[in-house]
Symmetry: C2
Subunit: 310 residues, 2 copies
């Protein structure tokens, strides 16, 4: 069974209560916590040796990635992170310096975003390092951006450049927290998430949740330099465009806004975040699935995003 089918089965009929605003299925859970002006965001994410990083990865980068993934999910809801708990499973022969390095990487990133690390747990995991981070954050009430709000006619945007993340970016990415909050404050995105499974796979999450389709422009998709170089050198298993569509772990923002906001958004963005690319890659349609248009015309995209159990 594939990952998404398993998750679908497991999340059917989960226990709920009156505090739940958004349960399983979005970037974060959204909870009622009392304050009249804001809602609580709640997220966990794990990184595992041999799956999300290799045995030789510098510990600081493992720590950065472990917390960074959760921060990126808070960004995807246009939230502000506040406090984290860290669970680390360690093999029996672990080195103290490795664990301290993991914490050093997490602590540095946490300090940059004023996130408190309020505890956690170390335990034994015979198979290798397993890190699970739980993170809390806040979103202004009515301003957290879900996956389900995309509308036909919306323009689709992506930050940064995509593909080839495994060459290094997946361990060093910066969560787009300030960018997402600015977006929510000024341009009311209809739907947003952070790209972890790959542009195509994650875009499908938005389409499914919003019951819409999309047409992408092949030439507009921002392909990372790494993905281009790998494709040119013939060392990549796939062409650069496919890498940008399916590699995953980009941790960039993917979002839609009303088409009338597209030009003002691009103008405002250039002034606010001159160092980070923002690209319009296509539009939301009333149809179904992803259509991709290039010089030869339009065709349905069948490639899948990264599947953790594939």
């Amino acid at each position: 069974m594939k990952e998404f089918e398993l998750i679908r089965r497991l999340t059917r009929g989960l226990p709920s209560n009156s505090s739940v605003v958004v349960g399983a299925g979005d970037d974060c859970a959204v909870l009622e916590a009392g304050p009249p002006d804001r809602l609580l965001l709640f997220k966990t994410d794990a990184v595992v040796e041999g799956v999300h990083f290799t045995a030789g990865t510098p510990p600081e980068r493992i720590g950065h990635k472990a917390l960074g993934r959760c921060l990126s999910d808070i960004a995807a809801m246009a939230g502000t992170p506040t406090a984290a708990l860290v669970t680390i499973g360690l093999p029996r022969d672990f080195k103290t310096e490795s664990v301290e390095g993991i914490y050093a990487g997490m602590n540095a990133l946490a300090r940059r975003y004023e996130v408190a690390i309020v505890g956690g747990e170390t335990t034994t995991n015979p198979g290798g390092i397993f890190i699970s981070v739980a993170l809390l954050g806040w979103a202004p009430r009515g301003k957290s951006v879900l996956r389900s709000g995309a509308e036909a006619g919306d323009a689709i945007f992506v930050t940064g450049e995509l593909g080839g993340s495994l060459a290094g970016k997946h361990l060093e990415f910066e969560p787009r927290l300030a960018e997402a909050r600015w977006l929510a404050q000024h341009f009311a995105p209809h739907a947003m998430l952070d790209i972890s499974d790959g542009l195509a796979g994650d875009l499908r999450h938005i389409l499914k949740a919003s019951r819409v389709g999309t047409e992408l422009l092949a030439t507009a998709i921002p392909i990372s330099r790494g993905a281009r170089l790998a494709a040119k050198a013939g060392s990549a298993a796939k062409p650069a465009l496919l890498a940008a569509l399916t590699d995953g772990e980009d941790f960039e923002l993917l979002f839609t806004v009303a088409s009338r906001n597209a030009v003002p958004l691009l103008d405002g963005w250039r002034k606010q975040f001159p160092k980070l690319a923002l690209t319009c890659i296509g539009k939301i349609t009333a149809g179904e699935g992803i259509t991709i248009r290039d010089k030869n015309g339009a065709r349905p995209l069948t490639a899948h995003g990264y599947d953790h159990f594939a």
Copy 2:
């Protein structure tokens, strides 16, 4: 390096912020979340195949234990749990029915305590099943019970019976949520935790945090039937009293109250919770460490609680 020494090193100088009321080192983190009448509790806890349960354990009980451990920590702060996220790492050859069984066990327990399960993650863990649960809860402001409030002269109480938990109770225990809230409401415990490392080990956590000592009465310590039978049959590696002091994973409440409250507490408890034993096992002293008194006199207790890396 032992677990507690590693934790001490890792929790030195963790990033903090103004939302933190209690950070690393107690049963739960305590956070300011806005409501004037209450504080937010935040906890994660993990269970790992081969460490906290064996490969043949029924999946429902694994799920029960995974969530139950976190619920027991919320109880230790006299809190009310509200929402959980579940991270499950699975070996590549996992069975769908096992994962559904784990969720069934968690869901049943969550429903019993009106806890919402608001999402989480499944990922790969090559070495075996690894489950990390993150749990939120609330405690009335000023009523969450820390480890650090024990005072010389306090009476020490424990719920239920101790020792021999590995024979089955560690997979089936009931978190003492209602009992802890009742205690906090009526008898203002000075210090409280739930017993996971073993009575002796966990009592040391209270003594260290509160800078006090204790004298226990050997004959007063409630020893479980299982620990007694195992010791009688000669099948146990240690005498029944030592099992009660050091086995761990009892998930009973250990707490101290002002000595004037001891008798009213025992009276009130018998009416409120007639099916659950409550035992006074000794008193807090101005000294240091644990002294245990039996018919041969008093001697310092040197046995250690369960150490996860021992």
